[in-house]
């Protein structure tokens, strides 16, 4: 599978040229149809390095869920300095994995995005602290030193606003995304994802107190699937196929997390994944992906109510968006 | 493919640096003829412009006025076919090439086919046998000059321009080189122009000595040297040699006083 993908994409410029060719030939082949359905090559831009964060996608790929949809999906990894929205705008990737706030920011800059599905029903943002000096509720925050990137100030302010807390009482220490300052005692708590830094600490034997912001009113869709208006208009079938495969992949992941973990580790031998970290991360991530809505309607679901809650949170973050940013019709087709 | 030695003519050749009131006149307009097959020495005080004159003859420097003819041709055409060689003050050997490589380079630059036999022969003639594979840094000053002369001669040029080629070696070595090397080109009858500030070297090597005034260069004396060839070490103690040296020295000191008087010499 990996070899195959590399063969399709090639390297660098050669890859670009080749992909141009593939883009031209793909749909034509797909139209010819027949018993042996030709595969259309599409790319899914991930939001981070390969890890169990995308275990469902690996299952969809390995078990042929996308092949059944006539799609040859390549998964493009992200990274700390990797662009996610631009490849989707430029058409390099059909779908990108973003988050409601990043998507809203991109739309404000003129990118024609819609959110098609929401993998993380609960936003994974959390405040992690050590048991000796814990932050269990937002009310514990005043008087604490919180380590976070200054860029995340709006997030902290939104949380305070949602819980009626004076943000001025919290000392913000600019740090990069790293648990070290907490362990070194330079800060009392960290703004981070519940599924990464606390997991790393737990594996090293430090059980952190994790306060999930979503439990305190911070409603913001995360790990959202985005596509451009143009793709929605002209490549609808591929989008629906991609979503359907993805939904089946995550379904399979929930049914058998151990298999998903094993597949993740085995298919990314060069990623340096540590089994213990990945196992715990998957364990903490899966509950965030499940809600009453997904139980009732299936993977990735959202409603007018959750959208409205997101719009309120986004407003606190300084982003004005309309419900048009979300488009559930493709997901409905995928589940239908 | 040795060339017939050419006659070299300078017509109103002059060089001025800069312009306007700051202009410095390096060479007064000169009209000179260097006979074919003769060796002519240009002597003068340092900084008098004799090197500039030589470089103009080689075409390495553009004259401000006048022209140079080498066998009736402009210098560039002669240079293009490898018809002249210049020996520079420092040996100007490329430090990364061996002796052999430096000599062979002249053939490449002159667009001649490689000729290992000629290269080896010349290295032997200049007395560097056994040092073919050495690099310049491993040679003494005198050996470097020998290699440079071999490089000059390997293209068998009709005209040889020597710009104080032995200026940077000690007196004894210089005498050895003065006696050893000139035979190599004088036997072929190569037209040779030598710039030097050593009066005895000028006498020892040449058929004619032109004494130049301090800057701007003008010819203050034109002295024929009628000593038999080949020249020998013992000659430097002979009366006629010493007389010539005296005559030239007199020209030099007189030239210092006469510097402001233009004096055309033919």
């Amino acid at each position: 599978m990996r070899v195959n993908r590399r063969g399709v994409l090639g390297f660098g410029m050669g890859g670009l040229a080749l992909r141009g060719l593939m883009g031209g030939l793909g749909p034509a082949l797909a139209l010819s149809g027949g018993a042996a359905r030709a595969q259309t090559a599409v790319a899914l831009q991930l939001s981070w390095l390969h890890s169990v964060q995308f275990a469902g996608s690996y299952l969809a790929q390995a078990r042929g869920y996308w092949r059944e949809e006539g799609l040859e999906v390549s998964l493009q990894p992200g990274g700390p300095n990797a662009p996610v929205e631009p490849p989707v705008v430029s058409g390099q990737a059909l779908v990108g994995i973003s988050a409601a706030d990043y998507t809203a920011a991109a739309v404000a800059q003129g990118a024609p995005f819609r959110i098609l599905a929401v993998a993380m029903q609960k936003n994974p943002f959390a405040i992690a602290s050590l048991p000796a000096n814990p932050v269990r509720t937002p009310a514990d925050l005043p008087g604490k030193r919180i380590g976070m990137a200054l860029a995340n100030m709006p997030v902290l302010k939104a949380l305070c606003a949602l819980n009626g807390i004076d943000a001025a009482g919290i000392e913000v220490v600019p740090t990069q995304y790293d648990a070290a300052p907490l362990l070194a005692g330079q800060v009392d708590c960290l703004l981070c994802w519940a599924t990464d830094l606390p997991v790393a600490m737990a594996v090293r034997g430090i059980e952190a107190v994790t306060m999930l912001m979503a439990d305190h009113g911070y409603a913001l869709h995360s790990q959202t699937y985005i596509a451009t208006d143009e793709a929605i208009a002209s490549r609808r079938a591929e989008l629906v196929g991609l979503l359907r495969g993805e939904a089946r992949g995550w379904q399979a992941c929930r049914a058998d997390p151990d298999a998903a973990l094993a597949l993740t580790l085995e298919s990314h031998p060069d990623a340096g994944l540590e089994a213990a970290v990945q196992a715990l991360q998957l364990d903490r991530q899966l509950p965030l992906m499940v809600s009453d809505l997904t139980e009732a309607h299936g993977f990735g679901w959202f409603t007018d109510e959750t959208v409205a809650a997101n719009i309120r949170t986004l407003a606190l973050l300084g982003r004005e968006v309309s419900p048009d940013l979300w488009d559930r019709s493709l997901l409905e087709e995928a589940h239908g | 493919m040795a060339e017939a030695p050419p006659e070299v003519t300078c017509q109103g050749l002059a060089r001025t640096y800069g312009a306007g009131p700051d202009a410095v006149e390096a060479v007064r307009p000169l009209t000179l003829t260097f006979a074919a097959g003769q060796t002519t020495a240009l002597v003068g005080p340092s900084g008098c412009g004799k090197s500039t004159l030589l470089r103009m003859i080689a075409g390495l420097e553009e004259p401000s006025a006048g022209s140079v003819g080498i066998g009736g041709q402009p210098p560039l055409a002669v240079r293009r076919r490898g018809g002249l060689s210049v020996a520079f003050q420092e040996a100007a050997l490329l430090p990364w090439r061996t002796v052999e490589g430096n000599v062979a380079l002249a053939l490449r630059l002159a667009r001649r086919p490689a000729d290992p036999a000629a290269v080896a022969g010349l290295i032997r003639l200049v007395g560097l046998e056994g040092f073919e594979r050495r690099r310049p840094a491993e040679l003494s000053g005198g050996m470097r000059q020998r290699a440079a002369i071999a490089r000059c001669l390997v293209t068998a040029p009709g005209l040889l321009l020597l710009d104080e080629p032995f200026g940077s070696v000690d007196e004894l070595t210089r005498l050895r080189l003065n006696l050893d090397l000139p035979r190599l080109w004088q036997e072929r009858g190569t037209t040779t122009i030598l710039v030097t500030h050593s009066v005895s070297e000028a006498v020892l090597l040449s058929d004619r000595v032109l004494v130049l005034s301090p800057r701007p260069a003008a010819v203050v004396a034109d002295i024929p040297v009628r000593l038999p060839r080949p020249r020998r070490a013992a000659m430097v103690r002979e009366t006629r040699f010493l007389d010539l040296v005296d005559e030239i020295a007199a020209g030099l000191s007189e030239g210092g006083a006469a510097a402001d008087r233009p004096l055309a010499a033919q």
């Binding site: 920011a105 220490v173 994944l273 540590e274 | 100007a92 990364w96």
Partner: protein, 507 residues
């Protein structure tokens, strides 16, 4: 040799002791743990190293090739044209990795493109500069020799200048090899499938100290090995590195080359974007940046945000830069005064310089606090090693006769240092001071991005993730222009000082 071995063992011991003291913080792992981790993961690290070293080598090759072509062009062309080429190259070199990375990923798509390009960009300018100086360093008499056979500039270039430039090329490569490796490493942060860079990110995030330090050790080893290998090749080719890599800047050619470079740069920028048909969403054109900074209704706020971040960055970059230069020159003086110190100073300096900044930055910030001290130190560490080496070489170049003169008066070491060796060091000092400007900016922005979360480094990282490409492009331009200005100002200062102390250095 045994002295060096002893120092090495002592360092290892100190390292292990420091690690044991800090045990429990998951920050520092000692050599024992590091060796264990490396052995256990030798397959993984070996594959990743092969990928990253391959990217760096390819980048080094392509970057050097580009440098060769451009330097040959600059030597053959009139001086003013050469000045335009140099200015554009300087500007490209001053572009911060954190901003160019994501853009290159968009341009190249998946694969090795950005890694190789960043590696190439990191080396092209230093190699170009070295080549240019080397190609121009041929003594006039060699050129006369070529001309005396009626041959032109191409023959000059081929027979004389090219080979004469070789020592300079080797010196340039010694600087370029670690830079290429860092470029490849950072390039992998933009969404690579494999490589050492990915392992570094993971190790840092997962508090895996043995992995972090194991990877740092591997990277440092590669850097030192590349340095030594290039030096060995240089000796084989009889091309010992020359004293001064970057000669003093040429005479001012007037404002024309600057204006021409500006115009050409803007044209190439806009032209490339339009030709590639890149979406203005992320590929901003010159007029977009102009609008963002000057005509947009929010322009004033944009400028204010940018100015604030720039001020934050300069507050750490400038003191770090000065501290690095002082430390480099000071240590060089120390080594000259007390030659025995060399055995202790140089290995530490090499090790400090060789460990990639992406792994040291977080640790230094942690050790020195979140304040500016940490970032200032990172910048200083990046700068001080090349300065030390250059200054040492410079002082050792003091003419023998001058030293004999001091000896004949039985002058003390201090007097000799002050009156003979320090002035002899100045050309080399200034050359490395100029090269250190882009290095300081790179270090400051990388540290801000990876460790402190402030200043332009953080601003650029954040704007890239929130699609604020107008700000990203503006910040990139501002920082690169600031670096170019600092370079130019240093050049003026250099000419002024050297015209008194080393007039022969000025062409």
């Amino acid at each position: 040799m045994s002295g060096r071995l002893l120092v090495g063992l002592l360092l290892l011991l100190l390292w292990e002791m420091a690690a044991r003291t800090l045990a429990g913080t998951h920050l520092l792992a000692g050599p024992v743990d590091v060796a264990g981790w490396l052995f256990q993961h030798r397959g993984l690290v070996g594959r990743a190293l092969a990928v990253t070293a391959g990217e760096a080598a390819l980048g080094l090759l392509l970057g050097t090739l580009a440098a060769v072509l451009l330097a040959a062009l600059a030597v053959l062309a009139p001086r003013r044209v050469a000045a335009v080429i140099s200015l554009l190259m300087l500007f490209l070199f001053c572009l911060p990795l954190v901003a160019t990375g994501p853009l290159l990923r968009v341009l190249w798509g998946p694969g090795l493109g950005p890694q190789v390009t960043l590696a190439a960009l990191a080396v092209t300018f230093t190699s170009y500069l070295a080549l240019l100086v080397g190609l121009r360093a041929a003594p006039p008499v060699w050129l006369d020799l070529v001309r005396s056979y009626g041959r032109g500039r191409l023959s000059e270039l081929w027979h004389v200048r090219a080979r004469g430039a070789l020592p300079y090329v080797m010196a340039g490569l010694q600087i370029a090899a670690p830079a290429a490796f860092l470029g490849a490493l950072v390039g992998e942060f933009t969404g690579a499938e494999r490589g050492l860079g990915l392992l570094v990110i993971r190790a840092l995030r997962e508090l895996d100290a043995p992995a972090t330090w194991g990877l740092a050790t591997v990277a440092a080893g590669v850097t030192v090995a590349a340095h030594a290998a290039i030096a060995a090749v240089g000796r084989r080719l009889q091309a010992e590195p020359p004293l001064i890599l970057a000669a003093a800047p040429g005479r001012l050619e007037g404002p024309l080359p600057v204006l021409a470079a500006l115009a050409l740069g803007l044209f190439l920028w806009a032209g490339a974007m339009e030709a590639a048909g890149l979406s203005p969403f992320f590929a901003k054109r010159p007029w977009d940046v102009w609008a963002f900074l000057f005509t947009d209704p929010e322009a004033m706020a944009h400028r204010a945000e940018l100015a604030l971040a720039l001020a934050q960055t300069l507050r750490v970059a400038v003191p770090g830069y000065l501290a690095g230069l002082l430390a480099g020159a000071g240590l060089a003086a120390l080594v000259i005064l007390a030659p025995r110190a060399e055995a202790a100073v140089l290995p530490v300096a090499v090790a400090l310089r060789a460990i990639p900044i992406v792994t040291t930055a977080p640790l230094l910030v942690l050790a020195l606090g979140r304040g500016p001290a940490g970032t200032v130190t990172i910048v200083a560490v990046m700068i001080f090693f090349p300065t030390l080496v250059a200054c040492l070489q410079g002082m050792r170049q003091t003419p023998r006769a001058v030293l004999d003169l001091f000896e004949s008066h039985a002058a003390g070491r201090g007097a000799r240092l002050l009156h003979a060796q320090l002035p002899a060091m100045l050309p080399a000092f200034f050359a490395s001071a100029r090269m250190a400007v882009p290095a300081a900016i790179l270090a400051a922005t990388t540290a801000e991005w990876l460790a402190t979360g402030t200043g332009l480094g953080a601003l650029m990282a954040v704007t890239a993730s929130t699609s604020a490409y107008g700000m990203l492009w503006s910040a990139t331009l501002v920082i690169a222009l600031a670096a170019c200005l600092a370079w130019g100002a240093l050049g003026l200062l250099e000419r002024a000082v050297l015209s008194r102390t080393a007039a022969e250095q000025l062409a």
